[in-house]
């Protein structure tokens, strides 16, 4: 079920009403209902893959219980390895099997020993990378004794399958989300209103920004060979905003929806395109995944504590793994490597914590220095996204080569775009500008329009929300799937 679908518009109020009015006085019933609602939400896409979530949840639930029953370190380690093996095994099979088969075929062919191996027609279960990492975090935290294992199976199953963030995050840690299922939730007006506003902002980012940018990013990336350099730059910029609108929009809707049910999820995006360097960017982009890798991969490997070689090694490992997490394609791995190359000089010069506060703190506009830093970081990010978006590495390099082609460079809008596409183009640029302006003024808050609540006049405040709704209605792009569903 998509957040921006008619089904969800029906589903959400029904779940909300039953949750707060029917099951309010019984915590177990509330949690059980959330599991049920979450399974319906997920099963709407393909009910067969519910078995995977149930199995994955069961494995980690029982491993958690077993971990607490034994003090034998080797047994504990074995149990953790079992959890990792099963969870990553599923992920590996569904997501990476064909990639490895193809890579082996290519490698052997390159060595002059062509081999035959069959690909499998595998459907990638939606959200597998997200819930697998979430449930893994539980086992690892229990193993590390950072968290007591739960005996409450319903709470645990609800934690793994919690529908607002099930298919595209934020990837919640068991230490944050699981305890919220143990406590009775009380309805808070302010939280619910704030949740509604965050949903509205998420819808704007998804429906207006991402879906409109997608039209042009797809058009340009699909026909890059026939287009000139300036149009290709524009295509990469459109994709940059598409992926931000799509993913952060989803996260906003997820966080807002959770607040309606009395839950607090972690912030997943903190205005990353206003970052002044790549270290800041990675503190602000897909925070739940970055911190997951930091806590469960980077720090156990030694983090940045070791010598030069260890720093380089760990940085590359974390970025390559992060790239590979996104998908079974060399393009993602190169995207990860490129980001490691961006990040490493900052780390080695010990400037990775140079920009910890919000940009232009206590002032309306950024300084010239800050503006140039933002511009440089944004340019590097746009360049990296080309690899992320391209179908394969060859296409990415051809695309980049096309950018540097000088023929007809300044003819930005292709002749083939008719009048309607040209007007859509202008509307999309207008919407991007609106996004930047609103988010700039909200950069100190949790999400773009959070500061609208500071408007004292109720009429003006409501007017602002209504205007935003009408803007969404007017400028909605043609509906596209969420990009991160494929991850």
């Amino acid at each position: 079920m998509l957040f921006n679908s008619f089904e969800f518009v029906i589903f959400l109020p029904i779940v909300f009403i039953i949750y707060w009015f029917v099951a309010q006085n019984n915590l177990k019933l509330q949690n059980f209902f959330l599991v049920l609602a979450s399974y319906i939400f997920y099963g709407w896409w393909d009910w067969r893959f519910l078995s995977l979530i149930i199995f994955s949840s069961s494995v980690d639930y029982f491993i958690g219980l077993s971990l607490v029953r034994t003090e034998d370190q080797s047994k504990r380690k074995l149990l953790l390895l079992l959890s990792i093996f099963i969870n990553l095994g599923f992920l590996g099979f569904f997501k990476y099997y064909n990639f490895f088969v193809e890579s082996f075929i290519d490698a052997f062919t390159l060595l002059g020993e062509p081999i035959k191996a069959s690909r499998l027609n595998i459907i990638l279960p939606v959200g597998i990378s997200f819930y697998t990492f979430q449930t893994l975090s539980y086992s690892i935290d229990v193993y590390k004794r950072n968290l007591k294992p739960t005996k409450d199976a319903i709470s645990f199953f609800a934690f793994v399958s919690f529908f607002p963030q099930l298919v595209a995050g934020p990837i919640e840690r068991a230490t944050n989300l699981l305890p919220q299922f143990y406590k009775k939730r009380t309805f808070k007006y302010e939280n619910a209103i704030d949740g509604m506003k965050q949903i509205l902002w998420g819808l704007f980012k998804k429906v207006v920004i991402a879906d409109n940018c997608a039209q042009f990013a797809n058009e340009i990336f699909d026909n890059y060979a026939d287009l000139n350099g300036s149009t290709l730059i524009l295509g990469a910029i459109f994709f940059t905003f598409q992926i931000y609108g799509d993913f952060s929009g989803y996260s906003d809707i997820a966080i807002g929806t959770s607040r309606l049910f009395g839950f607090n999820l972690m912030q997943n995006f903190a205005f990353p395109y206003f970052s002044r360097d790549m270290a800041e960017f990675w503190r602000r982009w897909h925070i739940s995944l970055s911190t997951w890798f930091k806590d469960y991969v980077y720090i156990p490997l030694g983090g940045s504590r070791g010598g030069l070689w260890m720093k380089i090694r760990n940085t590359f490992i974390i970025f390559l793994v992060s790239g590979f997490w996104h998908g079974a394609n060399w393009t993602y791995i190169i995207w990860g490597a490129l980001n490691a190359c961006y990040f490493l000089p900052i780390l080695l010069s010990k400037k990775n914590r140079a920009n910890m506060n919000t940009v232009a703190h206590n002032s309306v506009f950024p300084s010239l220095k800050e503006l140039s830093q933002i511009g440089l970081t944004f340019t590097l990010t746009v360049f990296a996204w080309i690899f992320f978006r391209a179908k394969n590495v060859g296409e990415a390099f051809s695309y980049i080569k096309g950018i540097f082609s000088t023929s007809n460079f300044f003819n930005i809008i292709p002749i083939s775009w008719g009048g309607r596409l040209q007007s859509d183009f202008a509307f999309t640029l207008l919407s991007i500008l609106l996004l930047i302006v609103i988010e700039w003024f909200g950069r100190d808050t949790q999400y773009g329009i959070s500061y609208f609540s500071k408007i004292k006049s109720k009429t003006l405040r409501w007017g602002a929300y209504l205007l935003l709704i009408f803007y969404i209605v007017t400028f909605a792009g043609s509906s596209q799937d969420f990009i991160y569903f494929q991850f």
Binding site: Y189, M196, S423, F427, V473, T474, F475
Partner: protein, 320 residues
Amino acid sequence: MNRFIKSFLLFSVVLVILSTLLDKAVSSGLRKSDTKLFSNLKKASQGSINADIIINGSSKALVQIDPFIIDSILELNTYNLGLDGSPFIPQLAQYELYKLRNKKPKAIIQVVSNATLRSMSSGFKDHVKFAPYLDIPRIKELMKLTGSFSALDYALPMVRYLGKPFEIIIGLASFCNIQLLAEEERKGYYPKDKYWLEGVSKNKSIKELALDAKNIKEYTVLDSTSSKNLNGFLDQCSKEGIIVFLVYPPLSDQGFHTAKHIPYYKKVAADNNAIFLNYSKDSTISYNKNLFYNTQHLNKNGATIFTTKLSQDIKSYLKH
């Protein structure tokens, strides 16, 4: 919780009221708009066409039949209601709208082709042009057959204009009596003054060509609802004493293989007192590539030659 529900309901009420008002303003504006997309429907709904001969059809009517030539030869008032990219049911809807406020025509030139009676599963082009008229029962009934509008489009204000900034802006401007992109009077005729582009399909891969063939096949399957409506339309015209010419326009010789359903049209015409005129393989037009801009459509020169010929043929029938 009570406070939340109260606020939510109040906000929803305000939203619905404002959306309804906005919907009314946009719809009312679009009904008055002279923009190309809406001008024919505007004239039809306002009763300002009142033609003796109506030309009905898809782009094959829109770009190929010149009402001014027919007028000069037959000394009648002709109007072209061609709807680009539309099969029969939307064409019928537009004609039904015409009938509400305009005088009954003496004759209708109904252009037919391989896709006239196609399935409506993929909707039709620019269906939003009918959005301002969904409150008219007959239009609503026919639009439901096309599946181009969802249940929410009919039920909730502004949903039918979701993601249509161009239409919303045009509609609001027109509501305020500001005509944006207004079209000059051309009796609904939009000829294409261009020539055949060589090698358009040369770069297509085998896979793409196979997909094209598959699309053509699906695109030209006879749909029972559409053919039922065509029969009903012809029968009604016959009862009303309107002469209907079912016209299959010329194809380029390279497009002969795309001619479909000719025996069917012949039979339907015979069954309903209509006249079937088949120009699909016209000996003077089809073999002259200079008269086409692709296999399916005549350019301006071709349209002039074809319309002259059609007018002469019609003249003899109208005399009787």
